[in-house]
């Protein structure tokens, strides 16, 4: 990541201040108290990005997950309840009844499986799109605050970690809800409080911005933080290579296809 300040550009005092607080390469210019300021600033970003993600999940539930779930369920119900007796009432030609019925049933079954697959893919795509928006918003904000054109907030490591944490949770964790409580020995999803969900899927909690913010907060801890910062820098460099990028894209697409193939049950 190239974040050199431009030689001919006169930066204001606040731009230079934010460069010290937000651009890692400028950390060596730190002033007394900057470590605490960095920790506070990143903690605020962590809270803000998590709150935004949790809030977004309510909109996604309303406008994407629930409608698509209902559509897939309705299509499945329609295909399952389709029978020859009902079909024969409208298709009166006995000679072609069997062939026509099979064709009609196949059409309904295909429609149901397509809806299931679309639903699963849409969740992946929505998560990828919303996380990309968070990352680009954070990067734009850093550029605005520091005045450095190519400055970034989200590192390769955070993008990788958040992307795969969400994918693993979706694919292998069966979209488990975090925040469930025990009631009479059973784990239950708590009822909403004033319309606000009390249990969330991991993808509603984790995004590249809050992962980056969390890493940056940890990096401010003496000794331990230095180790984390070292590892962070190494993985950034590793993930920055073309091979890693292509491999990541192939793996992400592959796991999406595998997930859909495994979960869509042909009727």
């Amino acid at each position: 990541m190239h974040t050199e300040t431009q030689p001919n550009r006169q930066y204001s005092a606040s731009e230079q201040g934010f460069q010290r607080l937000l651009i890692k390469e400028h950390k060596d210019q730190s002033q007394p108290g900057d470590a605490l300021r960095r920790a506070g600033l990143n903690l605020s970003i962590l809270v803000g990005a998590t709150a935004a993600d949790l809030g977004e999940s309510h909109l996604v539930d309303k406008f994407l997950r629930k409608p698509m779930e209902h559509a897939a369920e309705a299509a499945r119900e329609k295909a399952v309840s389709f029978n020859k007796e009902t079909f024969a009432q409208t298709h009166t030609d006995a000679a072609t009844l069997d062939a026509a019925f099979d064709a009609a049933r196949k059409k309904l079954a295909d429609a149901a499986t397509t809806k299931q697959g679309t639903h699963l893919a849409a969740e992946f795509v929505e998560e990828w799109a919303s996380d990309s928006i968070y990352a680009s918003t954070a990067n734009s904000w850093v550029r605005l605050m520091t005045g450095v054109d190519d400055a970034k907030y989200v590192s390769e490591t955070s993008a990788f970690l958040s992307e795969w944490a969400n994918k693993i949770s979706q694919v292998f964790g069966n979209d488990r809800l975090y925040g469930r409580t025990m009631k009479q020995g059973d784990k239950i999803v708590p009822a909403r409080w004033k319309g606000i969900k009390l249990a969330y899927q991991s993808m509603d909690l984790i995004n590249s911005v809050n992962v980056e913010a969390a890493l940056r907060v940890v990096e401010e801890i003496p000794v331990v933080g230095n180790g984390v910062a070292w590892a962070h820098e190494k993985t950034d460099k590793m993930l920055h290579s073309a091979l890693a990028r292509i491999g990541n894209t192939v793996a992400a697409t592959g796991i999406l296809g595998w997930h859909i193939g495994k979960n869509v049950k042909p009727l």
Binding site: A13, S14, G17, F18, G33, L144
Partner: protein, 279 residues
Amino acid sequence: MTKEAPTRIGSDPVAEWKKDFALHDQQHWQTIFQNGDYNLYDRNRKPVQWDAFRDASYEWVTNPAEFIKNFGTHIHNIDTDFRGGKDAGGAKERLERVGAMLGVIAAFTAFDYVTSKPFEGLFPEIKDNGHLTKEEYRANGKNNAITKLIEVLNDKYATALGNMLGERLTGKRGFIHEVADKGADTIQTAYPNKLPHSMNDWVNGATLESYIRIISQVPVAGALFEQGVTRLALWQERTPLHTATGKMIYMALGVFIRENRKAAHMGTDEYAAAVARMM
């Protein structure tokens, strides 16, 4: 021999004073109407600036106590920056502007009302209950055409008179701009007399422009709103949207909203009552 033009031997102090006074008065009204030298819709106006926001953010991070102490100054600076460096003044100036705009709204809402309501009685529509005679349909044709003409005319006059008032007070043209002028067409079409919540006599170019300028006085949020409206107005000015074609598009948008409002009201008591009134 050509007669020489008379030479000016001295100025009339009273006339000069009157001229100065008139100019001073116009300058004052220009700040209130944000016209002329203080034109809102200035082509060279800078977009949103972020320097004050950055400075305030940095102070918040580094010295919260100082930030709280300077809170008012920060808000004022951010507001000015968001307006592209155009200082909208302090609370007194903004309130004076709101007062003046409320005056314009009161005057032109009243104008709209008194120039349309009496004619509704003079040229009434015979409600269509499905059994109208040919003569009744023809009478409706005449009366509705006149009513429509009056509705359009009084709005155009309200916009023209609003502009004339602005020019009279400030000495400069350009008080009512594209967004208010065309936006009024959309709102009137979408909220006509025949549906509940009619906006017909409430909105015209002059009143809508005044409402826009009142909202713009709100610190920070109003600054962003003002920038948005200005950019939209200047963009409209450069596109065919400010022509008759644009007017059609705005009215078509109004028709789209109106028909969807009809659908939304269908089945509710309010709409049933409105339909009953029409029958």
